[in-house]
């Protein structure tokens, strides 16, 4: 085991993992985090905290992660390369690790054009694959990107995202293999609505045996309304929503129930695909529904999150 991460432990044990997404508030109120943590805490092995998702300013993912850590939960800190250069990211990762945070998800990040500060300058000093390499080097070689030594290296469980639905399709698997050779320990995919297309992608993944080199968690999004389904279909780049799902939502009498049903059906189907080791539930602004979904698919209760080993960092200290 590389870390004390609960997610790493669950995945290593072969158990089908569940992670959930938490969007931090657009304000300084910690209660918002605590409220969502209460909803998600018992039904997810780890909780992803987005890093200014869609380029809209929110509470820092690391700060929110510390709040989760204080509740005994296992946060997955998302880090985008849009806003910070290699200096800032390495510094932030050391800080997160000092707070006992292990899981980091490496992303390039949505372009600022989509956010609330479209006139800002972006950074993109490094890309997501280079970010993975950098974190691996910090962890395994105890060195910064520059080559300088780190006295106490951060203990990291490194994640990355992949979108099986974006183009060019064949390149998506090549890109996944690049992420794996860069050093990613787990993958969370873009939300799956088109299960056939996802299966096709997983087939290519298995052909290259990539599923044996990393842990793949399939992303899902429960849809709340027909309007949301349509909006996402038309406006969210990188999402692929079949017409059938939109029409099911439009025809449904109880739309929320239909949304839950679509989500649980998807989970049940992806769970059967060889090489899928977990799900990642992105219930954007609908966190309250996550426990119900996890329960319905029979994934409750979750394995208990083990107690923090307070001497873990010291034992890894080369000087100690």
């Amino acid at each position: 085991m590389k870390t004390d991460s609960n997610l790493e432990k669950v995945l290593a044990s072969g158990e089908f993992a569940v992670t959930a997404e938490l969007g931090p508030p657009r304000g300084a109120d910690p209660e918002d985090i605590h409220k969502k943590a209460k909803l998600l805490g018992d039904c997810a092995d780890a909780i992803n905290i987005t890093d200014n998702q869609t380029a809209i300013v929110r509470m820092s993912s690391i700060a929110a992660g510390i709040l989760l850590k204080q509740r005994g939960l296992d946060p997955v800190i998302q880090i985008v390369t849009r806003d910070r250069n290699r200096i800032a990211i390495q510094s932030d990762v050391l800080g997160a690790a000092a707070h006992g945070i292990n899981n980091v998800l490496c992303l390039s990040g949505d372009h600022q054009k989509f956010g609330d500060h479209p006139t800002s300058k972006n950074v993109f000093d490094i890309d997501s694959i280079q970010l993975i390499q950098m974190l691996k080097k910090m962890r395994d070689e105890k060195k910064f990107m520059s080559g300088a030594d780190i006295d106490v290296a951060p203990r990291l469980f490194i994640g990355a995202a992949e979108n099986p639905f974006a183009d060019p399709f064949e390149f998506r698997v090549i890109r996944l293999s690049k992420k794996i050779s860069a050093g990613t320990d787990f993958i969370q995919t873009q939300a799956v609505f088109d299960v056939e297309k996802f299966e096709e992608w997983m087939k290519l993944v298995r052909k290259k045996e990539l599923h044996k080199k990393t842990h793949i968690l399939a992303g899902v999004i429960p849809i709340k309304s027909a309007k949301m389904a349509k909006y996402m279909k038309e406006n969210v780049a990188g999402l692929r929503i079949p017409d059938e799902i939109v029409s099911r939502m439009e025809k449904a009498k109880d739309v929320k129930e239909e949304g839950i049903k679509i989500c649980t059906e998807t989970i049940e189907r992806v769970r059967k695909i060889e090489g899928v080791q977990g799900i990642h539930i992105m219930a954007v602004a609908w966190e309250s529904i996550v426990p119900k979904i996890v329960e319905r698919v029979g994934l409750l209760p979750r394995p208990p999150i083990r107690k923090e080993d307070s001497n873990a960092n010291e034992s890894k200290n080369p000087n100690g």
């Binding site: 849009r82 290699r86 390039s108 990040g109 949505d110 372009h111 054009k113 989509f114 972006n122 993109f124 000093d125 490094i126 890309d127 997501s128 694959i129 280079q130 390499q133 950098m134 990107m145 995202a161 992949e162 979108n163 974006a166 183009d167 060019p168 390149f171 090549i174 890109r175 293999s177 690049k178 050779s181 860069a182 873009q190 780049a237 990188g238």
Partner: protein, 222 residues
């Protein structure tokens, strides 16, 4: 070439009207080719300024001149006689040309008449596109002759982001995804293995991040 666009007329008028006399200097190289600041654009702009001045009964002497290149000392020498007659100079060159004029005439107020936009190509008459960012370390050999630094909104060096859809960029559906182009081209050239190689982090010190750059050729200096 350097591609530029003329500043909005209203902005230029408000600049020019601060003075009683102004010299409009066109540039005969890049900005002539992209129809932003050549001789004809200088004449058109001067005509508009004269008309506006007359409409508002404002006294404004306008001198016009277009030089071969505003970014070369020897060519801007020609401006000297006219520059002596005016209060200010409006340069229709790129930012480099406008700055050399400012350097040449330390006592004159020099205004830019253009917004310098990018290093690019003429795709068709009337359409220009960005192709180069001048990063100082060209990597086109690794990317099939298509630059992901200049042509990907996120400068991604190792493949497309999740927003690439049907070959288009999520930032602007009219823009081709650079990585889609790279992918197709490398495949066609039988160089698909390039796609699997992780391109290492970029040394940005040769780019603008290393501070203003300078090239010296000892064999050429006098």
């Amino acid at each position: 070439m350097i591609v530029a666009e003329q500043k909005p007329i209203a902005e230029i008028i408000s600049i020019a009207f601060k003075h009683k006399s102004i010299l409009v200097v066109g540039c005969g190289t890049c900005v002539t080719v992209c129809f932003a600041g050549g001789e004809k654009e200088g004449k058109t702009l001067s005509s508009l300024l004269r008309m506006k001045a007359q409409m508002e009964q404002k006294l404004l002497e306008i001198e016009e001149l277009t030089v071969e290149r505003q970014c070369d000392h020897e060519f801007i020498e020609k401006i000297v006689p006219l520059a002596g007659k005016v209060e200010a100079i409006l340069s229709l060159a790129c930012g480099a040309g406008a700055q050399l004029i400012a350097e040449k005439f330390p006592d004159k107020i020099v205004y830019p008449g253009l917004n310098t936009t990018f290093l690019g190509i003429t795709e068709k008459q009337g359409i220009w596109k960005e192709r180069c960012l001048g990063c100082g370390t060209c990597l086109l050999d690794k990317t099939g002759g298509i630059c992901p630094i200049a042509r990907c909104a996120k400068n991604l060096l190792n493949g497309p982001c999740g927003g690439s859809q049907e070959g288009k960029c999520e930032v602007n559906p009219e823009t081709d995804c650079a990585w889609q182009l790279i992918y197709e081209r490398l495949k066609k050239l039988g160089q698909s293995e390039c796609l699997e190689e992780i391109i290492p982090v970029k040394d940005w010190s040769t780019s603008r991040d290393g501070g203003p750059r300078k090239v010296i050729r000892d064999d050429l200096t006098l």
